[in-house]
């Protein structure tokens, strides 16, 4: 069964450094998402992406964050200058149609030192 894959599984970065989290959505999907889950807290929506542009973003997704679909398969989340509070599990999700379930990857655990 096709699945969403995320790399790396764990990323450790010094505060202030840039980090790029990578995702390969399911191949025929058109809608892409990033979520984060701080340890012990809810899964929170960050951003949705469709037709090569952001379709919705939450308050969390400030100017430090950006997303990109550099080619036909990858979908990336960049955090420009990481802060301690960016430490969380980051999930990528995709779906083929807007009213269909989103399928999630296993996540990237980001640890900021």
């Amino acid at each position: 069964e096709p699945e969403v894959t995320q790399t790396p599984s764990h990323q450790v970065t010094q505060m202030g450094q840039e980090v790029i989290l990578r995702c390969v959505p399911i191949s025929n999907h058109l809608y892409f998402y990033w979520y984060r889950q701080i340890l012990g807290q809810k899964v929170e929506f960050l951003v949705s992406f469709y037709n090569n542009e952001i379709s919705e973003k939450s308050e969390i997704f400030d100017d430090q964050f950006s997303v990109e679909r550099p080619d036909g398969s990858n979908f990336t989340l960049k955090i420009r200058s990481t802060k301690l509070e960016d430490s969380a599990m980051y999930f990528c999700a995709s779906t083929g149609q807007s009213n269909q379930p989103q399928h999630f990857g296993d996540g990237t655990r980001l640890s900021i030192l």
Binding site: V4, Y31, Y33, Y35, Q41, K42, V43, E44, F45, L46, V47, S48, Y50, S55, E56, S58, M89, F91, A93, T95, S98, N99, Q100, P101, Q102, H103, F104, G105, D106, G107, R109
Partner: protein
């Protein structure tokens, strides 16, 4: 903004027993999704409900959405160790390709 309240927060059930998890929305739901998460892992899609009064079943799990589309329940019959994990309800209240709002989750432990 959309808020989802899940109850109970945690649940310990003896293997073989039935259980129910509830999810209540502060707004009318366009779509309600149930996911399961194992600790430190990704979310696994279980079921999607969109119509008032809708009920879906898969193996020993049944999910229902009330007529007013503001409350959903997840029922597990004859629980097994494989059912252990965190159950999350997620809401789509816009009907488009927007992000989901999630509840805090229900931690389910199955005692042998």
């Amino acid at each position: 903004s959309q808020e989802l309240e899940q109850s109970p927060q945690s649940l310990i059930v003896q293997e073989g027993k039935n259980l129910t998890i509830n999810c209540t929305s502060s707004k009318t739901l366009y779509g309600l999704y149930w996911y399961k998460q194992k600790y430190g892992e990704g979310l696994i899609f279980l079921m999607m409900l969109q119509k008032g009064g809708e009920e879906k079943s898969h193996e020993k799990i049944t999910a229902k959405l009330d007529e007013k589309k503001q409350q959903s329940s997840l029922h597990i019959t004859a629980s097994q160790p494989s059912h252990a994990g965190i159950y999350l309800c997620g809401a789509d209240n816009a009907g488009g390709a927007d992000g989901l709002t999630f509840g805090k989750g229900t931690h389910l432990i199955i005692q042998p």
